[in-house]
Structure formats: C-alpha cells, structure tokens
C-alpha cells in the first residue's frame, strides 16, 4: 500500500517527465520540420503539468472566489501557464511560417535533403 500510494503521489510527475522526454526526443531525432515543431509543442505543453500540479489542493476548487467554498487551488501557476501557452502558440506560428518559406526556397521540409541541396548549390 505504501508503495502504491507513493506511485500515486508522484504519478503526475512521472507522466510529465515521460511527455517531456518524448517531445524532446522528437525534436532532436526527427528531420521533418513540421514534426519537429509538433515535438517542440509536446515539450512545452508538458511543462504546464509541472507548474499546475503543485498548485492543486485535494478537495480544493478553482480559484474563483465564492462564499460557498473555502479552499482554492493556487491561481499563480495558472497565470504563468496562460502566458506560457501564448508564448508556445506564438513560437509555433512563427516556426510554421518559416517552414512554409523554407519549402518555397528549397522544395522540401526534410533537413537532410536541405543540407544536400545547400552542399550542391
């Protein structure tokens, strides 16, 4: 039981770590530029859990004040992550725009092929 509750207590963190590592793996390992950006998105998204999880109080409620409740989860991480989401989508939009331009300039979005073409040019 002790072990089980230990796993339960840290389950969020294990999954967070797994998501983050997978995202990072995609970014580093794959040559396709769109897929890299998807991986980057996973990598950034997993950070949300890292921030939000410690703010949760079991039995608490969302931080919208109401006389009916007394325990609220911590609002500060929510604010930070709202900012992080915005930064993430801004980066994604810019990255995708670059990919479109790269595709126009090189005719491909695979990094390896681009390196080949630059070598030849």
């Amino acid at each position: 039981m002790e072990v089980l509750s230990g796993i339960v207590a840290h389950y969020n963190q294990w999954i967070t770590v797994f998501l983050m590592v997978s995202g990072l793996y995609i970014v580093v390992a794959r040559g396709n530029m769109v897929k890299k950006l998807v991986g980057l998105g996973l990598f950034q998204t997993s950070v949300y859990l890292l921030y939000i999880s410690p703010g949760k109080i079991l039995g608490g409620t969302a931080p919208i004040l109401d006389p009916a409740y007394t325990t609220y989860s911590n609002p500060l991480p929510h604010v930070l992550i709202l900012t992080a989401i915005v930064v993430g989508v801004a980066t994604l939009a810019l990255g995708l725009a670059l990919v479109v331009r790269i595709n126009e300039a090189y005719g491909t979005i695979e990094e390896d092929e681009i390196f080949d073409r630059d070598g030849a040019a």
Binding site: I15, I26, L42, N74, I81
Partner: protein, 185 residues
C-alpha cells in the same frame, strides 16, 4: 489518472506515426486530453485556453502548413543514439528533481504558503474581481501580460513579414519560387 495514461499513449503514437496529417490530429487530441487534465487540476482558465489554442488554432495552422508543403515524413536516416542520450539525460535529471518535490495535492507546501494566499485573500478587496486568475493576470502581474501581448504582437508581425505579402513582390523570392517549382517538376 486515466487521462494521463491516455496522453502517454497518444504521445507514443505521435512519435511512431509518419503520416503528418495523423500527427497533427493526434496532437489536437493530446491538447484536448491536456485540457481535461487541467480541469481536474482546477485550472479552468488554462484548460479553456489550451482547448481553444492547442486543439483549435494550432491545429488549423499546422493543417494550413501541410496544405502548402507535404504530408508524409521520410524515414529517418540517422541512428537515434544521440537524441536518445539527450532525452535520457534530461529525463533523468527531471526525475531526480521532481522526486524531491512536495507530494501531490497537499495544502501545506511552500507553493501555498508564500505569495499566493495574498491573492486569494485580498483580490476582492483590492481589485473587486472574484476570478483570482483574472486579477493576478491583469493587475498583480499585469506587466507579464503586457509582455505576453507583446509576444503575440511580435509573432503576428513576424509571420506577416515572412509570408504576408504576395509572393511576386521581391526578386529573390521569385527566383527561389522558380527554383522550387523546377525541383518539383
């Protein structure tokens, strides 16, 4: 907990699948799952944003990009040893760090003891706004939000600079385009 497990499964699928359309849709699903998890964690504002941004706008933009480029990924030619090593080091470090963190869901952690209680106690008195996320976002940490709006502004103008104009505008671009269409033929 079920949601988290589902997210892990979707992530594995994203790594494995090579059809980029499928990858984009999977990442949309991932965002919805993330939004559900966030609701469970009481972060309703964040969940709403993640659902509309991650599953909405991001998916639309990625599909738009795929429409302009291509839809399958080629088989990776490198051995994945270096990436695996990098990912493993980061993962190990993360686990090392997170194991020392306070347990999930308890109320007597530093996160709840410092700074945040003031927002919960004083928000109505000082700003008249019951949604504490809004009052922190727009007032207590209003400058962060100005920065965030600036980030959006930067990205917006940046995208327009890169792909906003009609393509025939500059000579260099026209040449590049001719080259690209030559390669496609």
């Amino acid at each position: 907990m079920v949601l988290l497990t589902l997210m892990a499964i979707v992530t594995i699928a994203v790594v494995r699948v090579r059809n980029l359309f499928a990858v984009v849709i999977l990442s949309g699903i991932y965002s919805f799952l993330m939004a559900s998890v966030l609701i469970v964690l009481d972060a309703v504002d964040v969940a709403m944003t993640e659902a509309s941004v991650g599953a909405g706008i991001a998916t639309v933009l990625m599909l738009g990009t795929l429409y302009l480029t291509k839809t399958t990924e080629s088989v990776p030619t490198h051995t994945p040893l270096l990436p695996l090593f990098v990912a493993a080091v980061v993962g190990g470090l993360l686990l090392y760090g997170t194991i020392g963190l306070p347990p999930f869901g308890s109320a007597d952690t530093p996160v709840h003891a410092n700074v945040a209680p003031r927002y919960l106690d004083k928000s109505i008195e000082e700003t008249g706004v019951p949604n504490v996320v809004t009052s922190v976002l727009a007032s207590y940490r209003g400058f962060d939000t100005l920065g965030e709006t600036t980030v959006i502004f930067t990205a917006g103008i940046g995208v327009l600079l890169l792909i906003g104009g009609r393509r025939r505008k500059s000579k260099a671009e026209a040449e590049a385009e001719a080259e690209a269409s030559g390669e496609e033929a």
